[in-house]
């Protein structure tokens, strides 16, 4: 059984070892402890310094990761924290007692060690008297002490390492101190990073790059080559001439130092990756993400049109890069991009007039504008940014074209591929236009007639109103003033750009007397100060019935001339057909004969078409003549007869001749059959010529009666007018006789004025009758007209009637009545003079059945009635148009 070990070296022993030995062991222990504690501490220090140096060293080559630095620090401190306690425990704690020391000594001096261990154990041996001899024990102890005293126990100490550790510590410390003093930034930085591995202390490099402008990740344009410029930091210790970088696992790209920075050119990239940058000891790994550039998702302008147009703001899509807007407008551009924006810039350039639309000048950075005659100065436009949206300030549209350039940069510092350019073309607010449609430039009509047409007005922005206006002029001297008026047909609106409205114009409804009217449509837009724009005029000849009859007469003359020409042509064709029959009749089936017949057939067809055309004209003429009412029944009957003949000729006779001539050339015909066809054609042609002659005769007869009747009617009307004047004065005679005009009652004054005007009008009419008679005679050379003209001239009716008008005005009532009656009788005599001629001039139309006359008269009356009813209806419609135009204006008035 092993001896019980003392719990402590300081416990009193039963028989302590000799003092000398005791001291010797104590000294041994102290020395052992000192050495081993020193070793532990120095090793701990060496570990710490080594770990620092390790971090310093690693940091010089790359960015030592936090974890590595932590491990290094833990490893370094572990010598202190783990090794030192262990060492102390091993060598101090476990070598604190004499027996422990004896065992250690026995390792070097085994014999002494055993004996020394025995002596130590004897100290506390507690045995009985019969088994233990204190003297022997003391002697043994002495003996051991004597033996130990002869030896140097320090030789039994384990090999001391503390000097080596000290040397190591001093060396490491010296190195660290030197490094810190030599590279204070690097040293301190490493120290900091070593002590606080988890802190975000940036690694110190001698080459320092300024990465403050690089994002995390840094966004680059997707798929586009890009350049990366990395400047050296201001506090960089070194400035390597070349740096290199690579995108992901791509090739290294080298960049020389230029202007204090390195610019790397990379190919287009599509994937998120890391860019490694190396410049001497500066090594960085930066995340890069290729993203699409910020493009315009929508771009539109809110256009404020000039106030006078009274139009609401409108949105204009500007993706086309072009917009045109009326001058005086202003626009605000609103753009939405695909990404949030960081900054934007807009400027506007006023372009010279007529600048090329296809190649607007671009004002990109660094680009100089081509020298032009005018100086182009960009003007900055204010922009408001709100996330993805940017809104410009109001841009006024002047009279010159402009180019607006907008650039933007998103939150990743990416700009759009190209600056967005918008060409703004100012438009002039064009004047509106107006025209009358569905009416000829010149139109002849009676005052009772109604003409229908469309009033059309157009404008680029909005029509305020449109209407018509008329301005009359008398064709001959007339009392009173010519008609002048206007009418608003439709009110427009700021958004109404076209007005197309039918309108019925009735001179009678508008109290327009016979005269020449210049009719225009007008319109106006909202532009201040522009006023009305008028259409080209349409001239309306509003005729009295007599004037209308005269016009019809002229048209009838022309129609007769045309009929004569057709008849002549038909006669020529007939002659030619006879010649053909005579010369080629024996062989009409030859090619020459056929050609000849074909030629004749074509000519016949042409003549037929002329006749059809003339028949249409004649029909219209007849209708107008019926409408006129002043043309006598006999004349109309003759016209009707001629018209009937012409209808038959154009619809039956001439087509039959043409057909026969066509048959005559038929190849399937025998020569005999062709001869028969030609013969029949000639026979029918003869009949047609006879019919034409008869029609011509009727037409000429009608014309004769027409012209005579026209003068007769005009003179009759003039005589009636004189009678009427006389009677109106007779009606007033009791009130007015013997008084001065000025003394008369206003009612009577008005009546006298009216008679005076009537007298003047009649004088003018008679003057024109003379003029017309003279012209008519010079054209027809008919003696009866010359005779009448001379009679009227001799009578000096012009002067006399003028004098009479003055008398009426001066209230010479009695003489006025007498003179009026005198001239009424005189004019009737002239009527008889001409009417006799008219009645005797015919002679061709006699023998017509009375039933036929009655029927014709009935039809004539019915036709007139229909025309009159149509006139009434048209005028009713015109009145309704007027009423409606008034009604459309009334509600606005009330509002």
């Amino acid at each position: 059984m092993p001896a019980k070990q003392p719990s402590s070296s300081h416990q009193p022993h039963l028989a302590p070892i000799p003092d000398g030995l005791q001291r010797q062991l104590e000294a041994f222990r102290k020395k052992l402890w000192r050495i081993k504690i020193s070793e532990a501490l120095l090793a701990g220090c060496a570990g710490l310094i080594t770990s620092f140096l390790f971090v310093f060293l690693l940091d010089r080559f790359f960015e030592t990761p936090t974890s590595v630095r932590l491990i290094i620090l833990l490893a370094g401190t572990s010598l202190f924290a783990v090794f030192a306690p262990y060492w102390i425990h091993r060598w101090v704690y476990r070598h604190r007692r004499e027996n422990q020391l004896a065992r250690l000594i026995s390792l070097r001096f085994p014999k002494l060690g055993d004996r020394l261990l025995g002596a130590v154990e004897l100290q506390d041996q507690n045995e009985g008297k019969e088994t233990l001899s204190p003297q022997l024990r003391a002697a043994a102890m002495k003996n051991v002490a004597a033996e130990a005293s002869r030896l140097d126990l320090t030789a039994a100490l384990p090999t001391p390492q503390h000097r080596k550790w000290l040397l190591s510590v001093i060396t490491l410390l010296s190195i660290s101190t030197i490094l810190i003093f030599t590279f204070p930034h690097a040293g301190m930085n490493s120290l900091k990073r070593w002590i606080m591995p988890l802190s975000s202390t940036e690694r110190f490099t001698f080459t320092r790059l300024d990465l403050s402008v690089i994002g995390t990740p840094e966004r680059v344009p997707y798929g586009e080559a890009f350049s990366l410029t990395i400047p050296l930091a201001k506090d960089t210790a070194r400035k390597p001439k070349v740096a290199r970088a690579r995108y992901g696992k791509g090739d290294w790209v080298e960049a020389p130092l230029s202007n204090g920075s390195y610019t790397f050119e990379f190919m287009g990239q599509r994937a998120l990756d890391t860019v490694l940058i190396e410049a001497h000891d500066a090594h960085h790994a930066l995340p890069f993400e290729p993203v699409m550039r910020p493009e315009a998702e929508s771009i539109q302008a809110v256009a404020k049109l000039p106030q006078y147009l009274q139009r609401a703001d409108k949105n204009v899509d500007l993706r086309s890069g072009y917009m045109s807007l009326v001058e005086g407008s202003s626009i605000s551009i609103e753009t939405t991009t695909t990404r949030k924006l960081k900054s934007a810039h807009a400027e506007i350039v006023v372009l010279p007039q007529g600048a090329d639309l296809q190649s607007p000048p671009t004002l990109e950075e660094g680009q100089t504008v081509e020298p032009t005659q005018q100086k182009i100065t960009p003007q900055k436009i204010g922009l408001k940014l709100n996330g993805k949206t940017l809104t410009s300030d109001l841009i006024p549209i002047a009279i010159e074209p402009m180019m607006l350039t907008i650039k933007w940069q998103d939150i990743y510092n990416l700009s759009s591929a190209n600056p967005f350019q918008i060409r703004i073309e100012p438009l002039m607010d064009q004047a509106p236009s107006s025209y009358l449609q569905g009416i000829e430039r010149q139109h002849i009509m009676l005052a009772e007639e109604t003409i229908e047409f469309d009033v059309i007005a157009e404008d680029d922005y909005g029509l305020k109103a449109c209407g018509i206006s008329w301005d009359g002029a008398f064709n001959k001297a007339m009392p009173g003033s010519p008609a002048k008026g206007e009418l608003t047909i439709t009110q427009g609106s700021p958004t109404k750009t076209t007005i197309n409205t039918p309108f019925s114009f009735s001179p009678a409804n508008l109290s327009i007397e016979p005269q020449k009217i210049s009719l225009r449509s007008w319109t106006e837009d909202y532009k201040p100060g522009r006023g009305r724009v008028y259409s080209e005029p349409v001239t309306l000849f509003i005729l009295s019935r007599l004037e209308h009859a005269q016009v019809l007469k002229n048209q009838f003359d022309s129609a007769i001339g045309e009929l004569e020409d057709i008849a002549r042509q038909e006669q020529n064709l007939n002659d030619e057909n006879l010649r053909t029959e005579r010369n080629m009749g024996k062989d009409l089936q030859t090619e020459t004969s056929r050609k000849k017949l074909k030629l004749q057939q074509d000519s016949e067809a042409a003549n037929k078409e002329r006749m059809q055309e003339l028949t249409k004209r004649m029909e219209k003429l007849f209708k107008d003549a019926v409408r006129n009412g002043e043309i006598e029944k006999e004349s109309l009957k003759k016209i009707s007869n001629a018209l009937q003949a012409m209808k038959e000729l154009s619809q039956q006779d001439l087509p039959q001749i043409e057909k026969k001539l066509e048959h005559a050339q038929d190849r399937r015909n025998t020569n005999k059959k062709s001869q028969e066809d030609l013969k029949e054609a000639i026979e029918k042609q003869n009949q047609a010529i006879e019919k034409m002659k008869k029609a011509l005769e009727d037409a000429k007869e009608a014309n004769k009666m027409f012209e005579a009747g026209t003068f007769v009617n005009r003179l009759k009307r003039s005589a009636r007018a004189q009678d009427s004047i006389a009677h109106s004065i007779i009606d007033l005679i009791d009130q007015i006789i013997g008084s001065d005009y000025d003394e008369l009652d206003p009612v009577e004054q008005r009546a006298i004025k009216k008679s005076h005007a009537k007298q003047r009008q009649n004088a003018i009419d008679l003057h024109w009758i003379q003029e017309d008679l003279a012209s008519y005679y010079s054209r027809t050379q008919k003696p009866e007209h010359k005779e009448l003209y001379d009679t009227i001239r001799k009578s000096m009716v012009d002067e006399e009637l003028d004098e009479l008008a003055k008398r009426i005005m001066a209230n010479f009532s009695f003489s006025s009545i007498a003179q009026s009656k005198h001239w009424a009788n005189e004019i009737r005599k002239w009527v008889k003079q001409l009417d006799g001629e008219k009645n005797s001039g015919g002679g061709g139309g006699g023998g017509g059945g009375s039933q036929e006359d009655q029927d014709f008269e009935f039809m004539l009356k019915v036709m007139r009635m229909i025309q009159q009813e149509q006139d009434i209806r048209a005028r009713t419609r015109a009145l309704e148009d007027l009423r409606r135009s008034l009604q459309t204006q009334t509600p606005e008035t009330k509002s």
């Binding site: 009356k861 009159q868 209806r873 009713t876």
Partner: protein
Amino acid sequence: MKSIAYIVVYTAMTSFSCLADDPINKKETGTEPIEENLQQALKQHGEKAQSLAIEQDELSADVQDLIDEQTDAEVIGMLREIEVIMADATDLLDQKNTGGATIATETEVIEKIFEAAKKKQQNQKKDGG
């Protein structure tokens, strides 16, 4: 708003002033009562309608003359019918009605006259045949 109303009324006035053949450039003084001018314009429209009524009545008299000249009972009957319709048209115009009803009545008159003329021709052919 008031000024717009004035402009519109002026336009209306000038529109109807033409019925009286007023000069084109006659300017609104602004002192004349608006309602009065409108009433005047409407009055003139009425006068013109009534003048048409007189013309319609005169035409009706012509129909009566035509009836007197006729011997064919059928035609006479038709002309009498026309006379009645014409009287309606006259009444409507006299009431200053120029609207669709009046125009329809006038159209009926025209159609009936055509029919009467046709009937007359047919009867003549029968008699002649």
